[in-house]
């Protein structure tokens, strides 16, 4: 249907309406409601004829409003395409994350975590694509919509007057209003980060595991704090363990790296112990196990080679700088006695006995070339005391022993602020998903929908002005 043909049709309808009006006026029906239509019909047809004549000036008026408000269809289209692109990337990211998490949790639980954000992304994509489609329609066809509206408007007896005036109003309001959608949405939302790190969630960057921290004799370390450093010396994560020496680096919010080797250090009572395997390689050193399901499906055993003894239920330790000087160890639950071969000491070795201050302690040493100093410190909320034995070469056998009882602190007294891996990248699991989901929903779904409703109600108002007929919305208001 050509535009000129439609205009001619509208003109013909106006003239028809006028003639019907004249006919009704002279009909010999003295008391008929039909006769009251006559002047209305004639006036309507004159009005619609004026509308037909001014079609192209209406189009120019629309163009004038567009230039006055700085409307650009290409900006509109680009804004929408950028946002749909981000959402599509986010979708692939999320499916990667879902795949990753299904290794540790059953599918039902994992999807329960991700359902809100996946739904938000899908709804937002639908709305944005719909708006893109409406934009294409309005940009290319608004003149035709305008003329069809005028045709409907010209039909006699006001049959299609409401619909016609709505279409005319639509063709006036939407070409001007729709490209202003980006401005409206951005006025009410914060700028978003477009760089969701996609590689992050390919299945090889992070992993979850339980670390078992043990001393030289494979006994559990009570309440350890482990820190991991990469090859450049940057701190990757800091986690604390429980009373069995287990550090739960588990789903959902305490990941560990899975694609790099790193060094793990035990920070215990203020002393640092390198943990073996050194360096830690996740491929080689994590074994699959079911004993910690559902927290994690892998575990890694870490040994502190220089930690000779630690108390199984309290914070107390004995450590040495060089284990080869020790010839014998008497190992008891509440203490230990070290027998040291003095001839194996080359220049200077140290034995550290650290304990929390509340412990009743019984520390003794043999006579010989040993100097003693005491250090007091504070370790994650616990007061500690460290006795440092400096050992010098001697051809005697030395011994150092330490026994503890009545220690007060438990693992719950540890005030550790954990540093989670990749936390500084701005994305930790689970907590942030709901936050991201709600911000996506508001900014990219609700705001555009609100703006569409604003435009539609403006259209309704304009159509009332043009056509004088209040559209009765077929919705019952309760």
């Amino acid at each position: 249907m050509d535009e000129t043909q439609l205009v001619i049709l509208a003109t013909a309808l106006s003239i028809l309406g006028y003639n019907i009006g004249v006919l009704l006026m002279m009909a010999p029906l003295p008391f008929s409601g039909l006769k009251r239509w006559a002047p209305t019909l004639m006036k309507d047809s004159i009005f619609s004829l004026i509308m037909i004549i001014s079609v192209y000036s209406i189009v120019e008026l629309i163009g004038y409003f567009q230039s006055m408000l700085g409307v650009s269809w290409s900006d509109f289209r680009n804004w929408l395409l950028i946002r749909t692109g981000v959402l599509m990337t986010l979708k692939t990211t999320l499916s990667g994350v879902l795949l990753l998490s299904s290794k540790f949790l059953s599918g039902v639980v994992a999807s329960a975590f991700f359902e809100p954000i996946i739904k938000a992304v899908n709804y937002s994509l639908t709305v944005l694509y719909t708006i893109l489609g409406i934009g294409v329609l309005v940009k290319n066809y608004f003149i035709k919509i305008l003329i069809i509206g005028i045709v409907l408007f010209s039909i006699p007896f006001r049959f299609a007057r409401g619909a016609g005036s709505y279409l005319i109003a639509f063709a006036i309001v939407f070409p001007v209003g729709l490209p202003l959608l980006p401005g409206f949405v951005e006025a009410f939302s914060q700028p978003f980060e477009t760089d969701f790190d996609v590689q992050l969630y390919q299945a090889n960057v992070i992993d979850f595991a339980v670390f078992q921290v043990k001393n030289l004799f494979n006994k559990n370390v009570y309440g350890p704090v482990i820190k991991a450093y990469d090859t450049k010396g940057e701190l990757l994560f800091l986690y604390k363990g429980d009373e069995h020496g287990n550090v739960f680096a588990s789903f959902p919010d305490r990941p560990i790296p899975s694609n790099i080797t790193y060094t793990i250090v035990l920070d215990y009572l203020g002393l640092m112990f390198y943990l073996e395997p050194y360096p830690f390689d996740p491929d080689r050193d994590l074994t699959v196990t079911q004993e910690f399901f559902p927290h994690a499906s892998k575990k890694g055993v870490l040994n502190a080679r220089h930690l000779i003894w630690n108390h199984p239920n309290a914070f107390a330790l004995i450590g040495v700088t060089n284990t080869s000087i020790i010839s014998e160890v008497l190992y008891l639950a509440n203490g230990s006695r070290l027998i040291i071969d003095g001839s194996k000491i080359i220049t200077n070795e140290k034995v550290y006995v650290s304990f929390e201050k509340g412990c009743k302690n019984n520390i003794g040493m043999s006579s010989g070339n040993i100097t003693v100093r005491t250090l007091d410190d504070h370790w994650y909320g616990i007061d500690t005391r460290t006795i440092v034995f400096d050992l010098y070469p001697s051809n005697k056998t030395l011994f150092i022993e330490a026994y503890f009882s009545g220690c007060e602190y438990s693992t719950s007294s540890l005030q550790v602020e954990e540093i989670r891996y990749l936390e500084n990248k701005g994305f930790t699991f689970f907590r942030d998903f709901t936050r991201e989901a709600s911000s996506i929903l508001i900014s990219w779904l609700i705001l555009p929908t609100i703006y569409l409703f604003i435009l539609l109600s403006i259209t309704l108002g304009v159509s009332y002005v043009i056509g004088g007929i209040r559209e009765r919305i077929p919705i019952r208001v309760f």
Partner: protein
């Protein structure tokens, strides 16, 4: 599409022809009612209104095309493209 246009145009011509015939009919009926020897004043008033309406309608019918060309002329003066009137 063009059949729709033809239909509307035919309808318009038919309505115009019918209108002229209706004018004669109504005018005659009006005068008959006015001149009837019936003692009811209401009939006379009805007849009077019929005559007036018929006359006004005939005037507007004749003026129909004139009205449209006036509107078109005003539009041309204001510099607007006017579509062709069939």
């Amino acid at each position: 599409m063009s059949t729709l246009l033809e239909f509307v145009n035919n309808l318009t011509t038919q309505v115009a022809a019918l209108a002229w015939g209706m004018f004669l009919l109504t005018w005659s009926i009006g005068w008959i009612l006015r001149g009837a020897p019936l003692p009811f004043m209401r009939i006379k008033r009805v007849g009077q209104s019929l005559i007036e309406d018929a006359l006004w309608a005939a005037f507007w019918l004749a003026m129909g095309s004139t009205v449209f060309s006036i509107v078109t002329y005003v539009a041309q003066v204001m510099g607007v493209d006017a579509p062709s009137v069939p």
